[in-house]
């Protein structure tokens, strides 16, 4: 029991650290990617190539004066960013970061908890994430914050539906909600053991899920909650110092987790092609698989940034039209087609 707790504690600690580290360096990567796409250099002053920039930014956020508006609801004002951060970090629990490691004959899974409800847990956490924004926006007692919060929550709830529907087609296909099992079903192998990644079977579902992931993370082209021209800073107008940092940080963590979920669901997770044909031992494959998973995750984080510096934002009515009139019917059609094909092929 003690060793079990110790092992889980170590896994949780490592994943927690990695998540925060990647989120921190996402801010740096974002600025670098933006710069490169605009033929600039980006931050290069703090350390070689500016790699200490996240530290400098973090230090700046902590040192800044902390302002809590007099008319705000103090408890909820502080609670808002906490919930945002908490829910962002919670989703990492069920992502299979790798296959099992075998040490001294004991098998250690690199997934913190392989829940039976797997993907539903992610949805649950994401749906709670709205509260961080809503509570923060309302507690600020500022009309711009409130409007930003309302925009954010309406957007997130709307796209959650399409996201859930796009996943259902995948679940019909795989027959399981557990992310660990979905990963196993995509394992690459030889002969009869060969499995394609889910994106091959579910291209439409993947596109819908990706678009919804952009909307859920409040990323461009769906970054309407923050809008300088209309809403000042959106829901975090009144926030300063590390509380603002928490909101921004949570956004990057969400991006990382979304990338991980996309990689796991549609791109084979920790599996990579020919993994069972190389004749390597189990632990090596696991380590290589984890590296493959992170490569996929980094690609998707890059893709998030890539899109951000390419596509202009939608107008709010366009956003709602896209969500409700395009993505939801498409997702339903996708479910229908998937079900039909499965009935025809599997009898």
């Amino acid at each position: 029991m003690i060793s079990f707790l110790l092992y889980k504690g170590i896994v949780i600690g490592v994943i927690f650290t990695i998540t925060l580290l990647i989120a921190a360096y996402s801010t740096y990567a974002e600025r670098k990617v933006a710069a490169f796409m605009q033929d600039r250099i980006g931050p290069d002053r703090a350390g070689p190539f500016g790699i200490l920039q996240p530290l400098a930014d973090g230090l700046k956020f902590i040192m800044k004066e902390e302002i809590i508006p007099n008319v705000s609801n103090k408890l909820l004002f502080i609670l808002g960013p906490c919930i945002g951060m908490l829910t962002a970090l919670m989703a990492g629990v069920i992502i299979p970061w790798g296959n099992t490691l075998i040490v001294n004959g004991n098998e250690y899974s690199l997934q913190i908890a392989d829940l039976n409800i797997g993907i539903l847990y992610v949805f649950g956490v994401v749906s709670i994430g709205v509260y961080g924004i809503m509570i923060g926006g309302w507690a600020s007692n500022n009309k711009f914050s409130l409007l930003g919060a309302i925009r954010a929550s309406a957007q997130m709830i709307s796209y959650e539906i399409a996201m859930g529907l796009s996943i259902i087609a995948l679940i019909i296909m795989t027959g399981t909600l557990s992310l660990g099992e979905i990963d196993v079903l995509q394992a690459g192998g030889a002969g009869n053991d060969w499995n394609f990644w889910n994106v091959v079977y579910q291209p439409l579902g993947f596109v819908i899920f990706l678009i919804c992931a952009f909307a859920e993370c409040n990323r461009t082209p769906f970054d309407l909650p923050e809008c300088e021209t209309e809403l000042v800073g959106g829901y975090h107008t009144e926030y300063s110092s590390m509380k603002l940092g928490f909101y921004l940080f949570a956004e990057y963590i969400n991006m990382f987790i979304s990338s991980a979920v996309i990689s796991t669901l549609y791109f084979g997770g920790y599996n990579f092609p020919f993994m069972n044909n190389l004749g390597l031992d189990h632990n090596t494959i696991t380590v290589l698989g984890t590296i493959a998973l992170f490569a996929k995750i980094f690609f998707f984080i890059f893709f998030f940034m890539w899109i951000r510096w390419t596509v202009p934002r939608f107008r709010y009515d366009q956003l709602m039209n896209l969500g409700w009139k395009m993505l939801i019917p498409l997702a339903v059609a996708n479910i229908f087609v998937t079900g039909l094909v499965l009935i025809l092929t599997r009898g």
């Binding site: 710069a35 510096w309 596509v311």
Partner: protein, 187 residues
């Protein structure tokens, strides 16, 4: 019609591929990824400076003559010529025993250029009859206060030890040009 490039706006129905929106996004991301691998246009400033022209007009210098005496006689022509009215000065009479310091009997006891007003046009240099003021290729340092941008004689007059080279601006052509007062901008 100013140019022959004007186009008649036709608001036609979008085709299916256009309405799908995704092909347009793919086109967009291909453009941005091409820029991603392109050479950046940035020059890392303090370490690396952009090449500037030989006759770059930067921070002014008040020249001394060969003996180290200030050339300026506070005639005020530069201040008159200045379109931005950036130059102010106070004239004073040379005392006996100061011949080593000031070349002529009259000199500028204070001479100030407000670098925030200055437009670096070089008219002061052109107006100067005594070859006293020149613009150099030095760039004005930044400062936190407005006061810091009002350069007095302490910053403008060249130190005796380290003379500022202005030969690039004092070419023979320039000197010849200066002899012909009829070409001058300020009459």
């Amino acid at each position: 019609m100013l140019t022959d490039r004007s186009k008649v706006v036709v608001k036609k129905e979008m085709t299916l591929t256009e309405r799908l929106y995704l092909p347009a996004i793919v086109g967009g991301i291909l453009i941005t990824i091409r820029h991603f691998f392109r050479k950046s246009a940035t020059i890392r400033y303090p370490e690396k400076k952009r090449e500037i022209s030989d006759i770059w007009r930067g921070q002014h210098v008040l020249k001394r003559d060969d003996e180290g005496a200030e050339r300026c006689t506070a005639c005020g022509l530069c201040a008159v010529a200045c379109p931005a009215e950036a130059i102010t000065m106070v004239a004073a009479e040379r005392k006996p025993g100061e011949e080593k310091l000031y070349r002529e009997e009259k000199y500028a006891s204070t001479y100030e250029i407000n670098m925030l007003r200055c437009i670096f046009c070089g008219l002061c240099e052109e107006a100067c009859p005594k070859e006293a003021i020149f613009l150099t290729d030095r760039i004005i340092e930044t400062d936190y206060t407005r006061k810091g941008f009002v350069f007095g004689k302490d910053k403008l007059v060249e130190p005796v030890a380290e003379r500022v080279d202005v030969t690039k601006r004092q070419t023979k052509d320039v000197l010849d040009f200066k002899k012909h007062k009829e070409y001058s901008h300020n009459k």
